[in-house]
Amino acid sequence: MLRRLRYRIGFLLALLLVSNGVMALTLTTRSLPYAAPDVSFQSQGKTHSLKEYRGHKVLLWMFSTWCHTCVAGVKALEKQQAALEKQGLLILSIRNHNNGGYPGPDMTNFMKKFGPYTLTSNNWVLGESSTEMYRQLNPTRFPDIYFLIDELGQIQVVDTAPNLTMNKIVNFANSASK
């Protein structure tokens, strides 16, 4: 009986380790870098294409407004806002199509609550993903995934949770232009 209890506690600890290990798995099956697909999103009633942003370093962040890492991500990005804007990083904050399949606040209310600076900032673009964009860039339906795209339209980094991986974003913003 006591041995079984020890096994169960061991199982619990193993579960924590495995979950941490799975989190380290790559979020894309493609090898980096690769060309960003020419997909579109809606922003302020207009349709925009990713192609329009060629020539800029872009952080394309796709998230759902019900997700906790997304709240932490907005706050973390807002903290780094001055440095990222200075380096000319364009932040495309795109809500997953259909909010990732679960209801939540709309983009404006979400940003008003957690990152009000983003609504007036010059380097932030807020938008809604098209079905095609969601299907091509986020086929596994992660609630929080971002892409760092260089001036040539090449995706250099794919990761999740900007609050935890801010060093990658800052390094990309600081990297020499292509």
Binding site: T69, Y102, R141
Partner: protein, 167 residues
Amino acid sequence: MILAALKTVLDSRAYRLITAFSFVVFLLIYLTTLPASYTGGYSSLEALEYLNATLVGFSVLMAALVALLTPMIIYLVRQGQKASKGSAAGGVLIGILAPILCCSPLLPLLMGFIAALIPTLFGTLGVQVQGFIATHQIELFSAASLLLFVALYQNAKKVTQGVCCKV
């Protein structure tokens, strides 16, 4: 009844030590795991940054319940009685799994794999589950605490009933 059972079990120094040790271990586990929904499912010391009063409260409550349950279960087993472990295991698992599964790539990866085999059944289930967990965390932690309390009550009952329930 719970107090009487605790008095019986914690009369021994060894069980008091087990209680203290379990409390410290589980408090650390809960403090680093409950805020994991803000760290993409990582339970690490980084998660401590995202603790708030509610999460600290639930961490202390659940760690205390587990710490009181553990010596009681060991006591019952040593007495040759059958301990109630189902609700205890359920409570611990819900408390730990909820923040890990919410907002991490774990569930979408798993569901993506299953969806490849049975697309109609599991295509959007991962997102539904994650969304539900993310928006009902307090309710899930309350349910986990309730299950732990039920387990404490069930085991306390067995301790106070003594050897009459020996299996």
